[in-house]
Amino acid sequence: MIGIISYLVFFATVASILSIAVLGLNLQWGNTGLFNGGVVAFFGAGAYGTLILGSAPQDGLLGGFGLPYLLALFGGMVIAGIVAWIVGLLTLRLRHDYLAIATFGVAVAFENLVRNAAIFGGAQGIRGFERPLRDVFGSGLAYNALFFVFVLILLIATYLFLERLIASPFGRLLRAIREDETAAQSLGKSPSRVRLTAFIAGSVIMGLAGGLYATFYAFISPQDVLPILTFQIWAMLIVGGAGNNKGAVMGTFLIWAAWTASGWALSRFAPLDVQLYTGSIQFVLIGFVIVGMLMWRPQGLFPEKLVVSQSAKTGR
């Protein structure tokens, strides 16, 4: 029984962390129409940033600043935002393909950098991070449950923040630019600036998710920032329904459950010689889920509720 509860807590923690990243992507893609092909770069920047800022000094590694945990987490988000600012500044004025390619490129470059640079721990990654409040709550289920509550609070906070944001005039502006850039421009709005703001905000949220992820495992390595994670996060948003925050969270839990279940089933029931190919089989399956969704139900399971105008909402 304890085992099942432990596992459920573990599963829910990871799914909640990923939900935060999916919410960040939803702000970029669902609400603003920005294609971020390198979610892992921002997720990874947050993760590496948090560990570098928050861990004790280690030989040969960058950082070891030993900042208080919340400050380190915040620092990770800032680093993710800076990466987004650089990429966004260069690409958001151009046609949309450039952002897709440049973000994809920044993810490749990021993984390449942390894998090769010794100061980032290289292929071994960064270990030796002391999880906050460990000495108070120990390392068992109690600690994990508490951490889950912490993640859940941040997920709810992010959710409420984004709901408020998209209901605000700024959110309306985002949708206006997504739907018709020229029209928004004619009303004196600056699409490239607004897009940059939304892109950075979304990336900062991804950075938060990355920081939590690294805290949860107390470890980060290049293996955690492979392009497949970008793909999974996208799958969660597309299946859930782009533009709908509730759908984004539902999609995350659904896809993450399907992913872990298929991994478990393949490792349990598939013959040994097939096990080597478990990853490939899962990738093909998730690829079909994506392409199928885009072909037959592009709005996702929980479509965006479009409010045509304020008066329509009140039912007049």
Partner: protein, 304 residues
């Protein structure tokens, strides 16, 4: 240094072949096709299959040509593979991209292409295994062209460069001398006006996929001949090929050719100062540099 320049040209010719098809499809269908590089893998593996088939059926043609590791069987297989890969590209468009195009916006296509790339790459891995394979088990020694500065070149590499240049020259003749070439350029310039002039847009799209796929297959075989074939070939080449199209300017075929060589050269020259582990990140730096200095590339036009 000299070695890096020569290697750069060799890699560049492969990137150019890949970038031509990508830039055409990106310009015409207005989406960044992340699955284009997988066509190189499809071509490389298709040639591998037919090479094996031809060598088994007609052992006579399975002997190497001159100093190359290339056989007549592989040559035939490559030509067949170009056709098959072209048809694969058309099939993917019919099955996926066309439907997504009808349903959603251009950006849904970008993501659909991510999905297609994922499916193709992993199915190839499931069929052919995850380990790298080679067309020929014979060891072909590199020829020492000069000892100081050190310059080693494999005969296969010289062949690859020449063959790629010939293929691109043929494409140039087609584009500049045939009615088809004129129609293609007309569609690229202004699709609506081209259609008014009686050009069938859908037919042009099919032909673009056919040409793009064929060139990608040739590039894939050349890559396999000078390196090795593995299922993640597309993943490794997608960023350099995108860099080549951005350097050349999206939509410009000649730009793509030049961009391929420039990226190949820059990526190899970067290894003079950078440790080789960083080479996958170099195309990204090139993209950033181009976006900073000349956002629309060498020959690209400003288009929203």
């Amino acid at each position: 240094m000299i070695q890096n320049i020569v290697d750069g040209f060799l890699v560049g010719s492969i990137l150019s072949l890949g970038a031509i098809g990508l830039t055409m499809a990106m310009h015409m269908l207005r989406f960044a096709n992340f699955s284009h590089a997988e066509l190189l893998s499809v071509g490389a593996y298709a040639a591998l299959v037919f090479d094996g088939l031809f060598s088994a059926l007609f052992p006579v043609i399975s002997t190497a040509i001159g100093p190359l590791s290339l056989t007549w069987a592989l040559t035939l297989a490559t030509i067949l593979s170009m056709g098959i890969t072209g048809l694969t590209a058309i099939a993917i468009d019919k099955l996926v991209f066309k439907r997504v195009r009808a349903k959603g916006g251009e950006l849904s296509m970008v993501f659909a292409s991510f999905g297609v790339a994922m499916i193709i790459r992993n199915i190839l891995g499931l069929i052919f295994g995850l380990d790298p394979v080679l067309y020929s088990q014979d060891i072909v020694f590199a020829i020492l062209v000069s000892a100081d500065p050190l310059l080693l070149v494999k005969p296969d590499q010289v062949f690859t460069l020449i063959a790629a240049v010939i293929i691109m020259f043929i494409l140039h003749l087609v584009l500049s001398r045939t009615t088809f070439g004129y129609s293609l350029r007309a569609v690229a310039e202004n699709p609506t006006l081209a259609q008014v002039s009686g050009i069938n847009l859908n037919r042009m799209i099919v032909l673009i996929w056919l040409i793009g796929g064929g060139l990608a297959a040739a590039a894939g075989v050349f890559y396999g001949l000078t390196n090795q074939i593995n299922p993640v070939l597309g993943r490794d080449l997608v960023l350099p090929i995108f860099a080549a199209t951005i350097v050349g300017g999206i939509g410009s075929i000649y730009g793509a050719v030049l961009g391929g060589f420039l990226v190949g050269l820059a990526a190899n020259l970067a290894l003079v100062i950078l440790p080789s582990g960083y080479s996958p990140a170099v195309p990204f730096l090139i993209i950033l540099a181009v976006l900073l200095i000349r956002p629309h590339g060498l020959f690209g036009e400003e288009r929203a």
